[in-house]
Symmetry: C2
């Protein structure tokens, strides 16, 4: 039988930049890769053709949101999330854990799972490792994630350790319960900003036959330096031959720096969320389209960009749409920001392939200017 996921590593070791290719039941994608987030069965403001046109070949779906609305049964009736949202390429689903532990309302953790109130209608929901696996099997994603316990960034060391140990236990329960042969399962390494805990948790998980390993619990309020240190403490203890996924990260700078430390996969709402706020990524840094200096500009957003938005529209038009709160603004801005992230990762891969990653990294950082007010 075919494995649910195969990973070819062309260049790279346990640390440092790596070049590879992941193949799932719905096709292949090159790594390092950026996965746009399709929270509730849609990458916000774009149809699936438009998402694919940005170059994306894998998107992320949020189990938490799909569980609450429309519910896994409706998605499963479409043959899964691929059929529901009409995305023919790969899909990764998270387990819902991160969102549950981010809820400000009622949430009760026990050894067996976590109970919480739906922020939509207040009904009680419960996630256990087994249920998180079952929901993701119903969603039919190509890559599922184990349910983990995510402590807040400011949690004391003993709370981080307890979360870590419970996460190890839950990861094992997910692995035992997982049945779908066409779906891969990734474990999640916790440990907060503590390098020793990170190393320890990596070692306790990587002995089990997961298809890949994620670094979780980062980008939750810690400093950038702490985040990079936590990655550096983790990747040396991860298997070389399996993909590594840094969850919920991040800015273009974060991506380049995490690639430098041995990460293969990323997801983040940043490109689409900032697009809807009129903040647009360019080769020179972040541009704020509401700025009055763009009101008469016939220039494209980024002369270096090949996206539909930059190939057609002026900054003046894009500013007009944004100021008038026209729905097309969110579509065109999202196309651009997602294409920027895809182009960035393609440039990263090209630099690794040609042995020029360090030059690329230096040139990339030095080109960026402070974000426009």
């Amino acid at each position: 039988m075919e494995p649910a996921l195969s990973f070819q590593l062309f260049t790279g070791e346990a640390t440092g930049p790596r070049l590879g290719k992941v193949t799932t039941a719905h096709g292949s994608f090159d790594t390092p890769v950026f996965m746009p987030v399709g929270t509730a069965g849609t990458v916000k403001s774009l149809n699936p053709d438009q998402v694919a046109q940005t170059g994306a070949r894998i998107v992320l779906g949020n189990t938490f949101h799909l569980l609450l609305k429309p519910g896994p049964d409706i998605v499963a009736a479409h043959g899964g999330l691929h059929g529901f949202m009409q995305w023919p390429h790969s899909i990764l689903t998270d387990s819902g854990g991160f969102q549950v532990f981010s809820l400000s309302g009622l949430r009760k953790l026990d050894q067996d799972g976590v109970t919480f109130r739906s922020p939509l209608d207040g009904h009680l929901e419960r996630l256990t490792p087994e249920r998180a696996v079952e929901i993701q099997q119903a969603l039919g994603s190509d890559i599922a994630m184990v349910l983990d316990v995510c402590p807040p960034a400011e949690a004391p060391r003993d709370e981080v350790r307890r979360a870590m140990d419970l996460s190890t236990d839950w990861a094992g329960r997910c692995l035992v319960h997982h049945r779908r042969p066409d779906q891969a399962l990734f474990a999640i390494i916790q440990g907060g900003a503590d390098g020793q805990l990170r190393a320890e948790h990596a070692q306790s998980l990587t002995g089990s036959p997961f298809d890949g390993f994620a670094i979780g619990g980062l980008s939750v309020g810690e400093s950038t330096g702490d985040m990079y240190a936590a990655i550096e403490a983790t990747t040396p203890h991860m298997p070389v031959a399996k993909p590594r996924y840094l969850m919920g990260v991040g800015t273009p700078q974060n991506l380049v720096e995490a690639v430098a430390r041995g990460v293969d996969m990323f997801d983040c709402v940043l490109p689409t969320r900032t697009a809807r706020n009129g903040r647009l990524y360019t080769s020179l840094g972040v541009l704020n389209i509401s700025n009055a200096r763009h009101a008469h500009s016939l220039e494209p957003l980024d002369a270096a960009c090949d996206c539909y938005t930059c190939q057609h529209f002026s900054r003046a038009y894009l500013r007009h749409l944004f100021m008038a709160r026209e729905l097309l603004s969110y579509q065109l801005n999202s196309i651009h920001n997602l294409r920027y992230f895809q182009n960035l990762m393609a440039a990263v891969r090209e630099a690794i392939a040609t042995g020029g990653f360090e030059d690329f990294r230096r040139a990339f950082h030095s080109a960026l200017q402070p974000e426009e007010e």
Copy 2:
């Protein structure tokens, strides 16, 4: 020199269904035609490629909205509205009159023009026939409209007559002032619901060398019967060889009935506005996607429809997007409703071409079911 607009009439007379073709500086479109409304330089929620994919080859732009934001100078700097919004096909602009006379705030009419406050920032603006022409020349539309005076539906007969007489005077001033050789100019026939006034106004305008004639001042609150009667009173007095445009109308039923009475061109916000409210046109009538009966439906919106939305997505998915207020909902719904209107007009043209319009009209009306709650 080429005329700004040419009209070939293949089938038809002064009244009854007509089949034709309009050619402007930006291409041709078959008539009867439906023009999507791109109020502020965008057909709401769709990019220009998507609008063209619905079959549209002419859209409408609103001078009133573009005058206030972003202003005609910015549009003109892009070579006009075609460059600004990147729409390569034909554009018709209205004169702004209808919106000015619909304002609830300050508005002062005199013989020379009309002064009003911007609803955006309260600054005073003024439209005269000459200024309306100049703005539309700056916008560079293929078809410009004269500035007219639009009385409310409940206006007494002498007020309707005064508005009519002033509109005649202003139409003449527009014609004299108009200079752009690549832009057509249409006059607007007023007269309220009074058949005698309609006939009189048609006769007083159609002697002048306008490129086409519009029926204005309808769909402003009068009954459907009054609207049809007003059209019937007007079209016999309009030149056979020039296109007729019924402004701001209407429902699919209105379009079919107006075609039956000799109208060639239509515009309306209905398909895009109702799309954003989850009301979707089908061959069986209007469907409300928020209805719970669609929650588990794997069916397309309309099995008879060839649009991107119907070819890809289930009602359950479309309902999910709408209930979750996902931006993609407005895009997919708008694609469908606009395609429905384009397909309807294509079916109307086909029926006229094959001599089967009366059969088509009967079958069309009898297939429609009451609108879903």
